[in-house]
Structures are given as structure tokens and as C-alpha cells.
Amino acid sequence: MDPAIGAAPSSAHRPHTKTLVEASEHVVEVVSDSGEGAQKCGQIFARAVARMSYGIWTVEIIPAEIEPPARTPAGASGNLVRFGTGEITNWGDQADLVVAFNEQVLLARHRLDALRDDCIVLLESQWADHRDEEIRRQWQDAMNEISGRGYRLLPIPMQEECLRVVDDARKGKNMFALGLLTEIYGLDVDYIREQIRALFAAKAPEVAKSNCDLLQQGIDWAAANLDFRVAIPRVESEEARVVMNGNQAAALGAVASGMDFCAMYPITPATSVSHYLCDIFESYGGKVHQAEDEIAAAGVAIGASYAGKVALTVTSGPGLALKTESLGLAIMTEIPLVVLDVQRGGPSTGLPTKVEQSDLLAALFAQPGDAPRVVLAPATIEECFHVMITARRIAKAFRCVVIVLSDANLASGQQQFRRPVPDERWHAAPASQRAVGKDELPYGWDPETGLSRRIVPGQPGGMHTVTGLNHDQRSKVDYTPEANELGANMRSRKLAVLHETLSPPPIHGESSGDLLIVGWGSTKGAIEEAVDRARAEGHAVSSTHLTFLSPLQPGLRDIFSRFERVMTVELNYGDDPESPHITPENRRYAQLAFLLRANTLVDVDCWTRVPGQPLRPGEIHATIRNRLARTDTGEARL
């Protein structure tokens, strides 16, 4: 090991003076081999800091395999927790402190440039002088690889210390690590013990006890051996708050909306919504049906919705593709349906566990024929909850398909937000079984709005056959030009009516300036933070974020006209104008940019990436400065 980057004092030595590192926030990572529990450690740490009224954002670090080989960079598993004074809306830039259970998982983070140059690295030290020569060589190679950075490396004898408390250190290192963090950040030990006991509530009492002992071992070791503490000011909050991830929020939102039927087929990263619903839905009278495939899941949801309350189906990109024909049927028959698409990287199987915002155009347009549907995108964990209620209400009121575009970043990222207060008005009423009047038609379209009232099976006098074929107001198959034009008009008109009820998107920053950034979905926090940094430097930049993608919120053209340049920032593919062969004529724009250009006729530019990880405020900030510099030098716009 390179002595220049620091060594931990021996456990016999108690440092007399401790350096107090003051910061407004920290990004902390805990990484281990899969199965060593770094994720649990990170989760409890996140709750504990949220409990102390810090703002938090967490990101799961997930290997692609269930049991990747131990001690490999590809197997790195864990949690990133960004926390600080005030609200935290994204994962930030790079880690300030990392706890790594071996040097290989540390390398994984190093290679992803996830660590700051002065990152504090608490590294399990048993591998340095391991009896296996190959492991010692790997350790040395890793030390050489990271030596170019200024990390403050602190070797920690985790194994040795854990063995003082338990027989199998592999099962307990995570709690020891949590103890280190508890001491470093001055967390509430009692609350953490409570969380540990809750975690192991189903197991024998000794399990919780030995984990609490490991926690204490970590605390004691840190108190005796670490020469620094980190102090982050906190502002007490009186408001009731909850911490959860986006998939939990979406599942609870579905419950809160009064939906009582979900048909799904397992697909990453959407499945945990279904797992959670499977766990709790029945106690609300709700059913989750795991169908035989994605197409069946859509069909079952459509059948359930046709006969009862608005139903839900949960999927990700490849599943959305398979459901396409079924969604066309729901749109044509005007059967309300909520589709939650937790996006991942594509095309094809793409990046199953990693984030991308690539399904926007598919959600909007994938369908033969004209098939208007509503598309919504939550931008925060809190919105993942409330969007489900909005989606259910729109689906019912407009007899339409509502696609909700969440993504892998929101799915597993945790944030705290104001605790929702469930409201009976969020609930769907049961399907009416009243007798249908003589004049009521299955598609009694209001000629102005296209809106009509649904007739469901069981209603006397309402018998009719719904069909994916073109039909008239009585639901009779009708291929005449007039009938086809009327149906197409009525289905589309509903979107215009919904559009009238929407507000223009709020502007973050001034309402005019040199540059407007436009985003959608989970990138909101990173974009706004980047805009704030640029504004603090004096740049006239603002941002706006779209929740409704179909119909688009009103006033966009007007908002855009008040800025010199408009640029989307997105997590999907768009051609870089600097790339070979790319010309203004053949440049393929990112998905929102494509949509906004068509919708507003404004020359909207875009900056996009597909790294399979959330955008960082730092890279967006750099892009803003770069774009503004280009404008200043009078470079021609594309």
C-alpha cells in the first residue's frame, strides 16, 4: 500500500484530536460483493439521516446477476446515499466517502469515476495480506490503479473486528460498516438499533442482538481509531415525512387511487411495484394477477377494466412493446387503463437494471393507426405516488389509456417527502349497475368533447358488443368514411379537452433569458441543481419540466419565445452534432426534442446521454456553460 495516501492508526491507539469536517452535504457509498448486505446498510443509513431531517436521495448499486462472482468489479452491490441540509433532489456528482468491503468493488466505483478526488475511502484491509497470493496481487494492482487519485484511503480491519463479535463475518460486516458511519456522522444510535430490530423482527432475537453488537463494534472502533468526524448542519422539520422509493410510492399511489386490479408479468425494473402490491393489495380488496405473458397481462387488465373499475398493468420497455396491440384495442374501445412503464435502457433487452428515458416516443406513438393516449411522467418519488391517482382519474373521466413513464432511477431511488394524507375523493367509485336508458349509447360521444359515459356489463338495457373494429355510437361495426372519421375525431378530441384543463409548466428561474433547459421525468432534480449553479455564476439560464407529454402542457411556444435558446436535457439517444456524418439535415434529435420541435416549430436543441445511470448535476452544469459560451462567441445555431 502506498503510505502517502494514509494508514489507519492501530486499534490500540486512540487519537486525541479529531478533525471536524464541515460540509453542507455528503455523498456516501457502501459497496460490497452481492450478498454481503451493503444495500441493507445503506438503506438503514438513509432512513437514519432522513430521520434527522436531512434531505436524502439514494441510488441502488446493482450488479446484473443475482450471484455474481465474489471480489469482482462487476459484482459491486450497494447503495449511494446523498444527504444534506435542505432538500436533496438527485444523486449528486461524486462520492465524498465510500465504505468498500474489498478492493475490487472499490475499483468498480473508481472506474466509473464515481468518487471525488479527495474521497475518504474506508476499505476492508484483510485482503492486503491475505494468505492467497493471487488476492494479495489483486490488492496491489488495485492500489496501483487508484494511486493516481488523491483518495484518502483508510484500511479498516473489518473482518478481524467482526470476528470478535460473530463467527461468520461475511454476514455481519454491513452492520459494522453502519457503526462506522454512525460514529462519523453522529447519527441517532437508538433509532438505528430500532431499525435493525425491525429488520430482523421475523428472526430469532439473537440475530437482532448480534447485529446490534456489530453496530456497536463499528461505533467503538471508529471512536477509537478514526481521526475525523463530519458535521452537516441540519434544520429540524415539523412536517410529517415519509421515505420510500419510487416503485413503493407508485404501488401505494395505486392503492390510494382506489384501483383494485393489477395484471402484470415480471420485468425489471418494474417488478418491485408488483411485489409490493402482491404483498399488500389483497388487504384492500385488490388483486394482482401474474399473467402468462406481457400480452396476457394487458388483456387481463383490459378485461377487468371493461367489466369493473379502472385496472392497472405494470411493465417496462420490452413489455410495453408486447402490449402495443392490446393498448390499441383499449384505445379503440375506450376502455380506461393505467399502464405504468418503469423505463430501462433499450432497445431490445438493452440495460435491464439501468435507467434510460427511451420509451417516450414508443409510449406516445407505438401503434398502427392514430391512437391517442395520455402520457404522464413523474419527476420525483412524491410524484410517483400522486401520478397514479391522477392517471386513474384521467383514465376514467376520459375513457382512455394513460401511460405513466417512471424509470429505473425513480424505481429504486429513495427520497423523503411530505407524507400523503389519503383522501376518499382519490378513490374510484364501483362500476355502476344502474339500468341504461333508451337514449344512452355505448359511445354517446358529446360532439364537442368526444367524452361519453361508459356502460359496463351487468347494467340492464345496456347490452352491446365492444369491438376493435371501427364502430358507430351504438358500437356497431361501421366502415363508412363518415363513421371512421367521426370515431378518429372523437378519440382525439378528448386529448384537446384534457389539454384545456392543464396549466403551463412552471419555470425554474427567471421567465426569460439566454437559455431554457427543458426536461421530463427523473432528471428534474439534477437539471434544477445544475441551473441553480449556473445562475449563481450569473448565467441567465432557467429550466422547465414537463409532467404531461401527451397532451403537452399549454403555453410552451410562448415560454420558449422568451429565451434565446431552448435545449432539452434527456437520458435517451440523440445524435451529437459534432459526430462524423451528422449534419443539421440528418441529425436525430432526442425524444422530447423531437416532440417539442414538431409541436412548437421552435428550433429546440438537445443534449442527451445514454450512460445507463442518472445524469449528474455537474455534467449538466458543464453543458450549460458550454452552450452559453458557444452562444456568446456567436456560433451558428444548428
Partner: protein, 317 residues
């Protein structure tokens, strides 16, 4: 449908009303003359009349193809969906509304080809519904393409030198699926048997699968013309627990005793390619039903809100 479920939703029933055939369908069906679908439609209307099924509580779900026009010719609720997906839609209806009486009408392309996966799983789910597979051994609506049940060597527009492979046997396929509970076969040219089979299927509690052999006058007439005229090519499965039509016994003299609870023998009988066997191959009402297993109490909004409040508290910090 079962009486106890009729109060599932608050709906007053007019018990004095007697339903007539006209209550179930007034539209003239637009299938070709001589199409077997007409016979099935008549038998279904008669079944509804005889069983006095309330039209507003009856749903016919279909896929795509000639046979899938079926719901349009009935005055019940109907769902004319997309190719191969009738079974998932019916599954959703029945899971969400156990009080409704659900029929599924599929063609051989729907059931055995594009929707074959759903067929297998619907059999295993064993949800209480009546599934009719109208098997004319051809894709008719799209004009004469080979279907999985087209006999080997039979010429079509997609296999003009004759169907390459032996036909799929829908009976043995169904009988091979775990949790199968009712499999029967009948033919459009034996209307009395068709009716009795539909009635037995409808009365069965579980997923009742009926393969109905039927003629397509445009594309497969030669396939069934000889059989339809020759009762001796048929063999009726008879048993007190099966379908019994005494009036047929003078014409259809070949009969075989088959106890529908005998699954092994059902598979053997279904396998024989030389005979057209009509009747109930298998019936077992003791199979587990997914719709039964998944039945839930309902809660008031206030109860659910209280529960959700408690659940949210688990996330409080």
C-alpha cells in the same frame, strides 16, 4: 352463473320475466350460407333461453376471425377483441366480476395458433367460463390459409402443395394440461349433440373447453362433407355423467361407454385419428379454480384509507 353471485353488485333482478329466443339476438348473422357458425349460434341462443340467462349478466368474448363475429349477433354484452387474446380478456372479466357469466368464442387460429399460450394457461387457471373453439381447420376470414388443425396434405394458399405437418390435436393438448377440468367435442352437423354438449359445458363449474368441428363451405367443405353424411364414421361417447342424446342413437349406432372421470382413457380416446368421437372426454368439478382461490372480500373506502394510513406510517421518519 351461480345464484349466490347475483347479488355481488347491487342489482335488482326481475324474476318474473321469461326470456325468449328473440331476447338474445335479433341481428341476422352475416356468415356464409352453410357455415357451421350459424348452427353454433342457434344452439347458444337456445341454451340461454333454456337456462334463462339474463342477457345483461352474460358476456361473450371473442378474438378475430369468422367465428369471432359471434358476439355481434347476440344481444348480450360482448367483447370482440384481437386475434388470439379472447382468453386473457375473459380472464380479466371473470376475475374482476365473478358475478358475470362468461363465454369465449374462438376459432382454431385464435385458440391453437396465435393464442395457444393463453389456451394452455386458461386451462390450468380453470376459471369458471365456457370456451368454444369453432374448428373449421382453416383460416377463413383471411381466405384459406393453413391452421394448426388443417389435416396434413390439405392444400391451402399458404401451403399449396399440402399442409406440411400432421394436424395439432386440440383434445389431447387440452387433456395434457395440469388442472384440466372439462373437455368435450361435438360437431355442427349434429345439432342435438351440439346443444347438449354446450349445456353440459355451461353447467360445468370451471373452464369448460368444447371443440366444435364445423364446416367452412368456402375452404374446407371436402374435409367434412363425407363425415357429415356418414354417421358410422362417428363414435358417440356415452355415460350417465356425459352427454346423452337418445334421439341420436338410431342414426349414430357406434357408441362407446366412457366415464368422463377417467383421464387416462380420455387421452387414449382423444388420440385415435380414425374416429370422430363426440361427447365429454373429461369432466372433473373437483379441480381447483383460480377464480375461487382469488375471491376476496371487499372493503369500504374508509377501511382502505385507515389501512393505507397505517401502511404509510411504516415509512415515516
Amino acid at each position: 352463473m351461480h345464484q349466490e353471485l347475483r347479488s355481488f353488485f347491487d342489482c335488482s333482478m326481475d324474476d318474473d320475466h321469461t326470456f325468449e329466443l328473440e331476447d338474445y339476438g335479433s341481428v341476422v348473422a352475416r356468415w356464409c350460407g352453410g357455415c357451421g357458425d350459424h348452427g353454433v349460434l342457434n344452439a347458444v341462443k337456445r341454451l340461454m333461453r333454456d337456462e334463462q340467462l339474463p342477457a345483461e349478466r352474460t358476456v361473450f368474448v371473442s378474438g378475430i376471425g369468422c367465428s369471432s363475429r359471434f358476439p355481434h349477433y347476440l344481444d348480450t354484452y360482448g367483447f370482440h377483441g384481437i386475434h388470439g387474446r379472447a382468453l386473457p380478456i375473459a380472464t380479466g372479466i371473470k376475475l374482476s366480476r365473478p358475478d358475470l357469466d362468461v363465454f369465449v368464442v374462438m376459432g382454431d387460429g385464435d385458440c391453437c395458433s396465435i393464442g395457444a399460450g393463453h389456451w394452455l394457461h386458461a386451462t390450468r387457471y380453470n376459471i369458471d367460463m365456457t370456451a368454444l373453439m369453432l374448428d373449421n381447420a382453416i383460416y377463413g376470414l383471411t381466405k384459406n390459409q393453413t391452421s394448426p388443425t388443417t389435416p396434413q396434405g390439405y392444400k391451402t394458399n399458404t401451403q399449396p402443395r399440402g399442409s406440411w405437418l400432421p394436424a395439432l390435436n386440440p383434445l389431447t393438448t387440452s387433456l395434457g394440461v395440469t388442472n384440466v377440468s372439462f373437455v368435450a367435442q361435438t360437431a355442427d352437423w349434429v345439432p342435438a349433440h351440439l346443444f347438449e354438449t354446450l349445456q353440459a359445458a355451461h353447467r360445468h363449474r370451471g373452464f369448460a373447453f368444447v371443440r366444435i368441428l364445423q364446416r367452412c363451405p368456402k375452404f374446407t367443405l371436402p374435409l367434412f362433407a363425407q363425415q357429415a353424411r356418414t354417421p358410422d364414421l362417428h363414435e358417440l361417447l356415452v355415460h350417465p355423467d356425459g352427454v346423452n342424446v337418445p334421439t341420436l342413437e338410431k342414426i349414430y349406432k357406434r357408441r362407446i361407454e366412457h366415464d368422463p372421470s377417467d383421464l387416462d382413457r380420455a387421452r387414449v380416446l382423444a388420440e385415435d385419428p380414425d374416429r370422430i368421437r363426440l361427447g365429454v372426454f373429461y369432466r372433473n368439478e373437483n379441480r381447483q379454480r383460480y377464480d375461487d382461490i382469488r375471491r376476496l372480500p371487499s372493503y369500504t373506502a374508509a377501511q382502505n384509507i385507515a389501512r393505507l394510513d397505517a401502511e404509510l406510517d411504516r415509512y415515516a421518519v
